[in-house]
């Protein structure tokens, strides 16, 4: 019995994977695909945030990393004619550098807890201000569109077919989960868990606290910036408010907490819930409901932190395990 269970558990991811790959060929409704693509891209972004968040490194600066990923890639394309194949690595390098500039002093001088949150909050604000203020290049708060290339172009990373985008987003989402799992199974996870509880005791066990925190921060920032670049290439339109800034940062925190910060698929569940909620409000109430989603996020966030801190998926799994 237990053996069949085991092989069933092993087969399940492959089955789900096959279904997910086949999906766009069975259902060609562009609106459904659009929603799925958004869910996958945001799932990846939320997973990126949870890489740090699960170790108590609560960042409200990830909107900043996402903005850097999106804007640097798009700006290099429009103003320098640089293909996203080069633009994205450059934007990732920028985000990584930013993460080191913000992270290293924080970790070296032990700015933790609320103070760390405040520093990262400032990062979000600064990136937003820079994008808005350099409106000659970025279009300011009106937004920015990468120059269109006719048809499909691998060089420009622009595709008209939603199925292509769906498969790209699916692959990247899967890679995100793989990175999550790799970290989860590494010794770094022990070190980071230890650090999140007691930095001195972790250091006394020989852990280089600054280095471990910096490593996970940079990984998380790179992933988030990549999500930003991907979002930009797909939507072909970005504004400071949709890919950077404090509201995006808060949205990440909310989605991850709701889904579950300690489980691999928690952020994905969070993405499904937040995006469907936003869509339901948009369709059900139209322009009357502008901003309602943020209100509901805020309320739900408080309720979740109090009553369901492990999130929906985390709590469900915990209950399931307790029963067995």
């Amino acid at each position: 019995m237990s053996r069949t269970n085991l092989s069933g558990a092993r087969l399940l991811p492959w089955l789900v994977g096959a279904v997910l790959i086949a999906l766009p060929f069975a259902n060609r409704d562009p609106y459904h695909l659009h929603l799925l693509i958004l869910i996958l891209i945001w799932s990846f972004a939320y997973t990126s945030w949870s890489m740090m968040g699960r170790f108590g490194l609560v960042s409200l600066g990830h909107g900043g990393f996402m903005g850097v990923g999106a804007y640097v890639t798009a700006l290099l394309w429009n103003h320098a004619g640089l293909t996203p194949w080069l633009g994205i690595p450059i934007s990732l390098a920028c985000a990584g550098l930013l993460a080191v500039i913000v992270g290293y002093p924080c970790f070296r001088f032990r700015i933790t807890g609320h103070y760390f949150v405040l520093v990262t909050l400032a990062l979000s604000g600064i990136v937003l201000q820079v994008i808005t203020a350099s409106r000659d290049y970025t279009g300011g708060s009106l937004g920015f569109s990468p120059n269109r290339v006719p048809g499909n172009s691998l060089w420009a990373l622009q595709f008209e077919d939603k199925r292509t985008w769906y498969l790209i987003a699916l692959a990247i989402w899967a890679v995100g989960l793989l990175i999550w799992r790799t970290v989860d199974r590494s010794m770094d996870r022990y070190a980071l868990e230890a650090i999140s509880e007691d930095e001195d005791a972790a250091a006394a066990a020989g852990v280089n606290v600054t280095w471990e925190k910096l490593k996970i921060t940079v990984i998380s920032a790179l992933m988030t910036a990549f999500a930003g670049a991907l979002y930009c290439q797909y939507q072909m339109f970005i504004t400071p408010d949709t890919v950077s800034g404090i509201s995006v940062s808060l949205q990440m925190v909310f989605a991850v907490i709701v889904g579950g910060v300690y489980v691999a698929l928690g952020p994905t569940v969070g993405a499904v819930i937040t995006i469907l909620l936003a869509e339901a409000l948009r369709i059900g109430f139209g322009t009357k409901a502008v901003g309602w989603d943020n209100l509901i996020y805020g309320l739900l966030l408080v309720l979740f932190i109090i009553f369901l801190p492990k999130g929906i998926l985390g709590s469900t799994l915990a209950r399931f395990q307790a029963r067995r």
Binding site: M187, Y190, A194, A203, A204, G206
Partner: protein, 251 residues
């Protein structure tokens, strides 16, 4: 092995450790005693890099440790326990020790970490089962875990901070026996902090007494315990402690 000279630590206007010098030789057990707040734990924090000295030098096997980050000191062969046990509750008992085995020795190998963890847990007498959680451990168990974590880092010099008490007479005898065994079997040099003289005096080779951050005596246990300054400072407080205990019993 360890040579400390003119060690000073100030917190703002308060001097917690004032111009303390001492040395520890290979293979000995040095006892470090003194009343609460006399600077024992601060000295440990300075030796292990948790705190940076305001002045003075700490030479370990010829290498200057003052100002070095803690993980490098630990990798260099100093292991420490904390006065109040600081287990990682989000990790299992085994993982707690394996973490120290992995990062503490500077050579990062999972197999060697597990091996070191098993040896350390066996040494202190805790279960090596991978699934045991930390939550079931009592005061004595948590002290043992502290010791196992320190041992897993493969130290040449062990800083054992036992000064909180919280153990009964039999448990303290056990702890003393453990330190003796660690030296005998693993050849580890030990500095042992304690604020109750009794058990410590029977085990250590030499003892150093601190009061208000200053060294007031150092030498063989028998000679130090009859030093009038030590009697005044130290046994005085122990008399107070006895009175306090008596008052406690009356309540």
């Amino acid at each position: 092995m360890l040579v400390v000279e003119g060690l000073v630590k100030r917190f703002g206007g308060f001097t917690a450790v004032n111009n303390v010098s001492f040395r520890v030789d290979q293979g000995e057990i040095l006892g470090l005693i003194g009343p609460n707040g006399s600077g024992k734990s601060t000295i440990f924090n300075l030796l292990s890099g948790t705190l940076v000295p305001s002045a003075g030098s700490i030479k370990f096997g010829g290498t200057e440790l003052a100002g070095m980050p803690p993980h490098r000191i630990i990798n260099g062969g100093i292991g420490r326990t904390f006065q109040i046990p600081r287990p990682f509750r989000r990790l299992s008992l085994f993982e707690n020790v394996a973490l120290a085995g992995y990062y503490g020795q500077g050579r990062h190998s999972r197999a060697k970490a597990d091996e070191a963890a098993e040896r350390a847990l066996e040494m202190v007498g805790l279960p090596t089962d991978r699934k045991v959680s930390v939550d079931g451990l009592g005061a004595a168990g948590l002290k043992k875990l502290e010791l196992a974590k320190a041992l897993a880092t493969g130290p040449k010099l062990l800083l054992a901070d036992e000064s909180l008490g919280g153990l009964d007479e039999a448990e303290m005898d056990q702890a003393a026996e453990m330190l003796r065994k660690i030296r005998a079997e693993l050849g580890i040099t030990i500095i042992w902090v304690e604020h109750i003289m009794g058990v410590l005096m029977r085990v250590v080779d030499r003892v150093m007494v601190l009061d208000h951050g200053e060294k007031i005596a150092e030498g063989l246990p028998a000679i130090v315990s009859s030093d009038p300054r030590v009697v005044e400072v130290y046994l005085g407080t122990e008399a107070d402690a006895t009175q306090a205990a008596a008052a406690e019993a009356r309540r």
